[in-house]
């Protein structure tokens, strides 16, 4: 199959004052052209690291292993000029903090023109671009400074700018986390619609299982720096096979059953070190056996999805009312 993005055994290590820590521990992920992939997992699972790694945007001091291929180019061995070309022509990033992503000293219009210079969107009129993201009176907005606009407005501006360059792959790192519920829906819909019309693939990093369930074709679940379950959204979220995915979908407030306590995942997320044996989820896993602590699980294909588990769940045990809610 012809992949737009292929991440193979990616590892990322940092050396901190307290010793070495591992942010990615052999993560695998592929995205086909036009595909919309949701990447879910709790804070510290490695989602953001993986997202940044796609454009080699990690902070200085990160040691990276494995291979990342975008549009046939080996990202980790690109020379600086080619890397910039890749970021400019193929990739688009939508950050978590939209207001911070705008230069505070420049008016919106001026920085949009600066950002579009030399890209595919160069001939685009900023006002037209803002209309595409459904901003009223774009001429007025273009004259404003970033501190004068709302988070939702800023995120639309960022999205308009990024999508003007017609990227092949859009990496969105919890782009709606800082927005209110109303803007969240609108912005998510906007990104997905624009991506569809441009044929852009989307890597959507999120905590929001419901949004992922609604908008993404495929869902990949991360835990402890690895993608532990990866398959069609319907299969992964409605009928999880990895014990972690199951626990995660049960603890999602969207699946709450009135009068019943929302099940939490016992324990805390792991701090990883390079070369640790076993499954990172084993200490918190209800199904763990002795082997789980000592052997790293290899990818298994179960019911049309890839699972990284020695003892994947075998049958549908999600209560039917939860299933209906999703």
């Amino acid at each position: 199959m012809n992949h737009l993005l292929r991440v193979d055994g990616a590892t990322v290590d940092y050396t901190t004052r307290h010793g070495a820590t591992r942010a990615l521990d052999g993560a695998n992920l592929t995205i086909a052209p036009g595909e919309r992939v949701g990447l879910v997992g709790e804070s510290g699972s490695g989602k953001s690291t993986l997202g940044l790694l796609v454009g080699r945007l990690l902070p200085a001091g990160a040691r990276v292993g494995g291979t990342i291929t975008v549009d046939g180019r080996d990202v980790l061995s690109l020379r600086p000029g080619d890397l910039r070309a890749l970021r400019r022509e193929v990739l688009g990033f939508v950050p978590q903090d939209p207001v911070g992503a705008l230069d505070p000293t420049l008016r919106v219009g001026r920085q949009m023109r600066l950002a579009l210079r030399g890209s595919a969107g160069e001939d685009g009129n900023p006002a037209d671009l803002l209309e595409r993201v459904r901003i009223d009176r774009p001429d007025r907005v273009l004259r404003l400074y970033p501190h004068e606009i709302s988070g939702g407005m800023a995120q639309r501006i960022v999205i308009a700018t990024v999508m003007a360059a017609a990227p092949r792959l859009l990496v969105a790192d919890e782009p709606t986390a800082a927005l209110d519920a109303q803007s969240r829906e609108e912005v998510t819909g906007l990104v997905m619609d624009l991506a569809e019309s441009e044929g852009t693939s989307v890597l959507w990093l999120s905590h929001d299982l419901r949004a992922v369930g609604r908008w993404c074709d495929r869902t990949a679940v991360m835990y402890g720096g690895r993608v532990v379950e990866d398959g069609s959204t319907r299969a992964v979220l409605d009928d999880p096979r990895h014990p972690y995915t199951r626990a995660l979908s049960r603890s999602d407030p969207a699946h709450a059953v009135p009068g019943r306590r929302l099940p939490a995942i016992v324990g805390g997320p792991p701090t990883l070190v390079a070369g640790a044996p076993g499954c990172a989820f084993a200490p918190r896993c209800p199904r763990a056996v002795a082997d789980c602590e000592g052997h790293r699980p290899l990818p298994l294909t179960v019911d049309g999805r890839t699972v990284l588990c020695l003892r994947p769940e075998t049958e549908t045990t999600v209560p039917s009312d939860v299933k209906a809610a999703s």
Binding site: P59, A60, G61, G268, T271
Partner: protein
């Protein structure tokens, strides 16, 4: 958090060594230099190193020798005990003044930050007025009013260092005071002085430490400058600024008389500034990233 707890039980660490190890070699060297200067200033006169600083003992402007390790001055006094005494005077005057500054600024900054509004405005305006005077010019005004001497140096240093430190502590305190835990403490009826000490003071202590260090280096500069102009510490006492001033008069004939106090003064200020930078990096950390 759990990991650190288990680690510290299995591997007990000496807290002093741990604290020292967290600073880099340059900072530790500078701390050592300061400790050495302080030791010399305290122990030197007690042990009578170099003899009586005021006694005329030898030829005028003699170069360094075994008998007079730093040479002699224009009156034939041995320079070594005079430099040691000068270090002591400079350090004492500066330290006492900075102590006053630290107390005034911390109290003023916290009160201004806690109350905000008009109180903050008044405190900061007073600071602005003092801040409008260039350091040495303010010192000259003070010296012209109170007359030359230690008091002039002391008052000048306090007036020069208070505005900046008050502003910094005030800004830090303001940030703390709008935090939810301070609001929570206010709502639950904790008294204002108690909040200021328990919550605000503890949280601005980093800023206080950094600014006190910087104030000390400014203090040494100002004391030296005023003494250099002849309006700080007066003869027959000695201070680094005074020795430098004397040194410049005869620097062509006897450059060593200028060299020793200058080098020590610069060393002390560099050491204090490096320690200040290091403390600032500690309390206001910043992540590095590449382009």
């Amino acid at each position: 958090m759990k990991d650190t707890a288990t680690e510290s039980t299995t591997r007990p660490r000496n807290p002093v060594r741990g604290a020292l190890a967290s600073f880099d070699a340059l900072t530790l060297t500078c701390a050592g230099v300061l400790a050495l200067l302080t030791l010399a200033a305290v122990a030197g006169p007690l042990a009578g190193v170099g003899g009586d600083p005021t006694a005329i003992v030898g030829p005028r402007l003699a170069p360094p020798s075994a008998e007079y390790p730093l040479g002699t001055d224009s009156l034939g006094r041995s320079l070594l005990p005079r430099v040691i005494e000068g270090v002591g005077t400079t350090l004492v005057v500066s330290a006492v003044a900075v102590l006053c500054t630290a107390v005034i600024s911390t109290a003023g900054g916290i009160v201004a930050g806690y109350h905000g509004g008009a109180v903050n405005g008044v405190v900061m305006r007073i600071g602005d007025v003092l801040y409008a005077f260039p350091a040495i010019i303010l010192a000259i005004l003070v010296a012209s009013v109170v007359g030359p001497g230690r008091t002039a140096a002391l008052v000048s240093i306090v007036l020069v260092t208070v505005p900046l430190m008050t502003r910094m502590v005030g800004a830090a305190a303001r940030l703390v005071c709008v935090r939810d835990y301070v609001t929570a403490a206010r709502i639950s009826g904790v008294s204002a002085p108690r909040i200021m000490v328990r919550h605000v003071l503890t949280n601005v202590s980093g800023t206080v430490a950094v600014q006190t260090t910087y104030a000390l280096s400014v203090a040494i500069l100002v004391e030296g400058g005023l003494s250099f102009l002849g309006y700080g510490v007066q003869l027959p006492a000695s201070s680094l600024g005074l020795l430098i001033q004397e040194g410049t008069v005869y620097m062509v004939k006897a450059p060593w008389a200028l060299l020793a106090p200058s080098v020590i003064l610069v060393l002390a200020i560099v050491a204090i500034n490096v320690i200040g930078d290091s403390l600032r990096d500690r309390f206001e950390p910043r992540k590095a990233r590449s382009l």
